[in-house]
């Protein structure tokens, strides 16, 4: 099974229409990957769908990089009893 980080990169690539191979954990969604306001919301929504979790809006939108998103999602999955 793909790691959380790989799945985060896949979703990010799909939403932002980028090549997954170009996305690095240290990339900032907005500054490096060009995510605009509505795309940030779409990313959170797609992460929820991908992992079957519910995220608190403000906390989720405060996450800035791909790597920290993976860490944040791992934590949420643990809290909500979702196996990853």
């Amino acid at each position: 099974m793909a790691s959380v980080q790989d799945r985060v990169i896949e979703v990010t690539a799909r939403v932002l229409q980028l090549d997954a191979g170009d996305i690095k954990p240290e990339n900032n969604f907005s500054a490096d990957l060009g995510a605009e306001s509505v795309q940030s919301i779409e990313l959170v929504a797609m992460f929820e769908e991908e992992f079957g979790i519910e995220m608190e809006e403000d906390a989720a939108l405060a996450v800035t990089t791909v790597g920290s998103a993976a860490e944040f999602i791992e934590g949420i999955c643990k809290e909500q009893g979702v196996e990853v």
Partner: protein, 470 residues
């Protein structure tokens, strides 16, 4: 000339708790109007103090001319329409008579039938009064209608005296006006002299001598019949700024009539026009300087650019008095709805009643509305006007705007409100309208409703039952 250094040092008062100034910005009322000192006006070179707080204590009130000045600027209302609006004026002003009087033409059969039907409703307020030209023949109409008070046209500028009414002299004009005033007294009717075009008149040479004479005449009749003075800023020339000169200065006009001519405050009335966007400020200023009555029309509709809007005066009144005083503010919305139904256009950005008066378009503002409604709403418009704050969606609205719209649409409160994450599909559709489709117009409520149904079916299913109440 010496230069005084007026600069001061201002230290930050750091805090972790917001100071929302809720004493003044009490969300349940329009923001309170407070004063922290007297108003100073130089009258004939001498400083004179006015206490603006006196307006909070005096029995200031609103008078209405929707059916007279308001009707001069549009096709006639039907009798039924006027009777309904009169009924709504009575509801709006409440039992304390904040809207104290309204005036009617008396010239046609329809005018008189309207008057009779309004009086048959039995409201104490607004009292029905008349309006006639200052000619004796017209006065018969007042007597026949059985009115206690009538306005009469007593034009005061030389533009009117000589160029319109063709009097040979000011003396002839004044004598003519006073004859009609005498006729009113004889019939036991209170005359309300409308000093037409007074902001373009010779105050020393005509206005004050005329008012002096009216006050002397009034000494011969009971107090409740004494002449009232309507100060008519016919062309909207009045200025509320301190220091402005006569004949345009609102403070000086009120002072001269009130203090020098001795017209009591409760017999002074301000009637303005909006040709220079000053009508509401001038009217409220008249209140502050000692004039008790502010004359206006519903939604400011009147000759040319209109008059002080009655609903604006109502909100000003509440702000000054810091209390609703029996006013039913929600009737303002009911009136606007009715006016639209009879083809009376109200601009979308018109204060208090326009379709978008409390609608925000910018996403960053919508975000503010979502976190605390007070950030971008003037007061509790839901409670006072039955108008919750709205968001209209454009490319600037963002997901915050979409989330606010959806929550308002479904009527969701507090924990039930849907987060912007859940509206992402609708937000994407909105953005694509502009970025992909090249749209140049705002998105209508009807379009959004259809998109919510299509893109958020689970929420549509869950909450559509609530829509019955929207």
């Amino acid at each position: 000339m010496s230069v005084v250094d007026t600069r001061k040092t201002h230290e930050l008062v750091d805090t972790t708790e917001p100071n929302l100034l809720e004493d003044v910005f009490d969300y349940s009322l329009p923001p309170k109007i407070r004063f922290d000192g007297p108003l100073i006006e130089y009258i004939d070179g001498q400083p004179v103090e006015f206490d603006p707080n006196s307006a909070k204590k005096r029995d200031i009130f609103i008078t209405d001319t929707t059916f007279r000045d308001g009707q001069q600027a549009r096709p006639p209302y039907t009798i039924d329409q006027m009777v309904h609006l009169y009924d709504l004026l009575a509801k709006l002003g409440g039992p304390n008579g904040v809207i104290r009087q309204t005036e009617f033409f008396l010239y046609t059969k329809n005018d008189r039938e309207t008057l009779d039907r309004c009086r048959e409703l039995g409201h104490e307020f607004p009292e029905c009064t008349g309006w006639i030209r200052a000619v004796k023949g017209d006065f018969r109409l007042v007597k026949e209608a059985g009115l206690k008070e009538t306005g009469m046209l007593t034009s005061s500028s030389d533009y009117h005296i000589f160029n319109k009414l063709k009097f040979k002299s000011r003396q002839e004009c004044m004598d003519s006006y006073c004859e009609v005033v005498d006729a009113a007294f004889e019939a036991g009717v209170r005359p309300r002299c409308h000093l037409e075009d007074v902001t373009r008149a010779d105050w020393d040479g005509f206005v004050m001598p005329f008012v002096d004479r009216l006050m002397r005449m009034s000494e011969q009749v009971p107090e409740d019949q004494g002449v009232k003075i309507r100060i008519c800023d016919t062309m909207g020339f009045g200025l509320h700024y301190p220091g402005a000169e006569l004949p345009r200065s609102v403070p000086k006009m009120i002072y001269k009539l009130n203090q020098e001519c001795g017209v009591p405050s409760d017999r002074l009335e301000w009637h303005g026009h909006n040709d220079f966007h000053r009508t509401h400020a001038n009217g409220a200023t008249a209140w502050l300087y000692g004039c008790d009555a502010l004359n206006g029309t519903l939604f400011g509709f009147g000759e040319r650019c209109g008059n002080p809007p009655v609903e604006g005066a109502i909100i000003e009144y509440i702000s000054l008095k810091e209390d609703l005083c029996g006013i039913q503010t929600e009737v303002i919305t009911e009136m606007a709805k009715y006016m639209r139904s009879i083809d009376f256009p109200i601009p979308e950005n018109y204060p208090l009643v326009g379709k978008h008066f409390n609608t925000t378009r910018a996403g960053i503002h919508a975000g503010g509305l979502r976190s605390d409604e007070r950030i971008y709403n003037i007061f509790d418009t839901t409670k006072l006007l039955n108008r919750p704050p709205r968001v209209a969606l454009t490319d600037k609205s963002g997901a915050d705007g979409v989330a606010h719209w959806v929550n308002e649409f479904f009527g969701l409160k507090d924990a039930d409100r849907i987060s912007k994450i859940k509206v992402h599909k609708v937000a994407r559709w909105v953005m694509d309208q502009y970025e992909v489709e090249g749209r140049m117009t705002a998105i209508s409520d009807e379009e959004l409703e259809a998109k919510v149904q299509e893109l958020m079916p689970e929420y549509w299913e869950k909450y559509q039952g609530k829509l019955d109440g929207v």
